[in-house]
Structure formats: structure tokens, C-alpha cells
């Protein structure tokens, strides 16, 4: 009898498909925390896919880094005003999308802000003199970034110009990682490169992924999340003045610099953008932050993106299609 029961159990176990689980791994890459979450039947398959995606992101980091002298971005910068530099297809894609977002945001998003942003040090709480900022501002102009698609080369027209892809490369990386995971047979997951998040597929319980949107003025863990949204096959990013900042003489100096002034943009506390691709949610969140609530909201609607803008007084501005898609936490 016991043998029969055991045999039956063995048959039952072998017939049932492996139960899908959620597997997650984090790594510090691109100067931030990258977390990859996947749904898989086995831990081994999940880890193999995640590690392959991490490897691809490490390669991308080496090419896109603003700080590493060997990166493609650094080679473009060191040849500014001298000659064009041949780059990989990924860097070409990041730069051409950067210029697209610059055009759409009327220059509010501009990767040539690197010339001015490198004058700040947010860790050491150093802000440059106004005189030095103004002296460098003529070097900030995305129209002076010349891309030759046929030759896969990039040329910065003015000497001492510097591009910094920090406002778009993380979103691009999230899209890229999802591509790699899908090639590895993963049909569902999330890639979060800091706050640049790309979701795909559904959770094992058939539900979409639940994403929390941070409160830009959270005082403790209880009010850290101001809203949640459920996403699948969509990306979401937030740019906020609370990410990298210091306060000097009562003024908040954050990393979202207005390319027109070289100073931190002052009309918003945070901007969240929801769209298909993380490369665009990342860059448009920055661009809209700099444009401010009025122009920013108009642009999001024109682009067909959804978004939440928290202005400098804490008032929320929502795109027309977002109501019903985001659940706001009630104030206690």
C-alpha cells in the first residue's frame, strides 16, 4: 500500500509543471543600484539569465561612463573640437535618442550639460562660482553634437565641450537588460536601474508589477511612497531634486541643471513619466523637470506619455490619461 502511495505521489510530482517563482538579484553598476527581478521555473535558469543581463550592463557601463578615461564617451569628450570618434551601436543609439529628446524638450534635456555639471561635486558639496558657470555655458548646446550614422562617429564641434549621458543611459540600460532577459527565455520581470524601471510580462499570480512612486519630501519610511501604479510592458522613471543634492545657505543644490542657466532647475520637486521605453521615461523625466509643470505637462500630453509632476510648492499635476491608473496614498 505504502509503495503504491509513494509511486502515485512520484507520478503526480513528475507530471505537474515546475511552479514559477520570483527571483531577484541586485548589483552596484553605473554608479547606482541595479535590481533585476525575473519569473522563472527554476532558480538556475533565473540566475543564468540575470547574470547574462548584468554582464551586458557591465559592458555598457564601460562604454558609457563619464568618469572612466577609456570609455567611448570620454574619448568623444577628449576629442572635442578636434575630430570625430567612432563609437559602438549602443552609444550611437543613446546619443541619437538624446538629441531627439533635446529637440522635443526645446533643449531642456541636453547631454552637453556635462561641461557645467562636472563643475559641481554633490558628494563634497561644492558649487561653482556663477562667473565660471557663465563662462562655460556657451559650450552647452546639443546642436553642436554631430552624429554621422553612416560612419558611426560622433563629433563635438567646440573644444572643451563635454557630454554626460547620465540622464539617459540608465533608462537605455533597463531596456537593453529586458531585451537580454527575453533572449534568455524569460517572459516576465522587472529591471530597475536606480529609479529607471522597465517591466515586462505578469507575475506568477497573473497580476501586473506594482511600482511605488516616491514622495519627494518623505520624512520617514511611512510616507516614503506617495502613490502606486500597476504596470506590464511599460517603463517608468522619476527625476527628483532629492536624489543628489546638498543645502547651502538655505538653498537646495541638486543635480538637475537647467542648460540655459547652469543652475539647478527650481520649478519642480519630482517628475514621474510612464511610457513604453525606459530610455525615454528617463530622459523626458529630466527634461520635463527642467521645463516646469506647465510646459512639461503639455509636452507629456503631446508625446502620449503619462506623468505626475510635483511642483516646487508640492502641488501635483497629472496628465489627462493617468487618472485611474495610479493609486494615491491617502494622507494620514
Amino acid at each position: 500500500m505504502l509503495i503504491t502511495v509513494c509511486s502515485l505521489l512520484c507520478v503526480l510530482c513528475s507530471c505537474s509543471p515546475p511552479k514559477e517563482g520570483i527571483y531577484k538579484k541586485s548589483k552596484i553598476l553605473m554608479d547606482t543600484l541595479v535590481t533585476i527581478t525575473v519569473v522563472s521555473g527554476t532558480k538556475e535558469n533565473a540566475e543564468k539569465a540575470i547574470d547574462t543581463a548584468f554582464l551586458e550592463l557591465e559592458n555598457l557601463e564601460k562604454r558609457a561612463s563619464f568618469f572612466s578615461p577609456e570609455s567611448e564617451i570620454s574619448r568623444i569628450n577628449s576629442n572635442a573640437g578636434v575630430s570625430g570618434v567612432k563609437v559602438s551601436s549602443d552609444i550611437l543609439a543613446i546619443l541619437s535618442r538624446s538629441l531627439y529628446v533635446s529637440e522635443k524638450t526645446s533643449g531642456a534635456f541636453d547631454i552637453s550639460i556635462g561641461t557645467v555639471s562636472s563643475l559641481y561635486d554633490f558628494h563634497k558639496q561644492i558649487k561653482p562660482d556663477l562667473y565660471i558657470i557663465r563662462k562655460n555655458l556657451p559650450l552647452v548646446n546639443y546642436r553642436d553634437i554631430i552624429i554621422d550614422e553612416n560612419k558611426s562617429s560622433v563629433f563635438l564641434k567646440k573644444k572643451n565641450m563635454r557630454i554626460d549621458t547620465g540622464g539617459i543611459a540608465k533608462g537605455f540600460a533597463a531596456d537593453k537588460a529586458v531585451e537580454i532577459l527575453k533572449k534568455q527565455g524569460i517572459h516576465s520581470g522587472i529591471v530597475a536601474v536606480a529609479g529607471e524601471i522597465k517591466t515586462f510580462g505578469l507575475k506568477p499570480d497573473g497580476k501586473p508589477w506594482k511600482i511605488g512612486i516616491r514622495n519627494p519630501r518623505a520624512t520617514d519610511r511611512e510616507d516614503d511612497i506617495m502613490a502606486t501604479t500597476e504596470l506590464t510592458d511599460m517603463a517608468i522613471s522619476t527625476s527628483g531634486d532629492y536624489e543628489r543634492f546638498f543645502v547651502s545657505e538655505g538653498k537646495r543644490y541638486h543635480h538637475l541643471l537647467d542648460p540655459k542657466t547652469g543652475l539647478p532647475a527650481g520649478d519642480c520637486m519630482s517628475v514621474t513619466v510612464i511610457a513604453k521605453e525606459a530610455v525615454f521615461t528617463d530622459a523626458f523625466a529630466t527634461g520635463v523637470f527642467i521645463l516646469g509643470p506647465e510646459k512639461g505637462l503639455k509636452l507629456l500630453d503631446e508625446m502620449g506619455f503619462e506623468g505626475i509632476i510635483v511642483d516646487s510648492r508640492g502641488k501635483m499635476h497629472l496628465t489627462s490619461g493617468i487618472r485611474g491608473k495610479v493609486e494615491f496614498k491617502k494622507a494620514s
Binding site: 531577484k24 541586485s26 552596484i28 535590481t35 522587472i190 506594482k210 516616491r214
Partner: protein
Amino acid sequence: MIVLSLSGIVFIREVLPKNQSARVEVDGKLVYILPLDKNRIISVDGPIGKTYIEIHDHRVRITGSPCQNKLCIKQGWMASGAIVCLPNRVIVTIGNSGETKPIDAST
């Protein structure tokens, strides 16, 4: 009999304690897996110095760090999720990797 045996398996899976632990990684390398049921303080060496991690009553916090802004210390006690110190490249992940949480990611 079969039903009894099957329900037994389900019962054992639900009743057995889950392996709650804290994984400590430095610069991408796993250096500790620490059970949360033993109170202790450990230190790990990162690229800029020592990070001190305390486990107490199934919760984890960073008590000392060489980083400038001390955001990792300000995160306070955590019973799940992750504590990260970017400058010293330390990640402490708490709980099971596959556990279900109310929020899957935040932006």
C-alpha cells in the same frame, strides 16, 4: 491515504520556518549570509573603509559607514528589502529573494 499524504506535504511546507537571512555583498561579491535569528554586529571592508552591520530581533541596520552622506545609516532598521551604501559598494539584502512584497520596485 493519498489525500492525507499530500496534505502532509503542504502542511510541512507551510509550517517549517523559512530561511530568513541577510546577504551581504561588497563590490559584487557575496561575503556573508547571516541568519536573522542570531543577534550580532559584523564589519565588512569596502573600497573606502569599514561598514558595520547589526542584526537584532530579525531586523538589520547599518550602524557605521565611511561614506559622506550616511544615507545607508539613515535607512534605519529593515526587516525586508535592501540597505545599500553606494560609495562603499555594500548591499545588504534581507529576506528570501522570492518573497512577495506589496511593492515590486520603486521610482
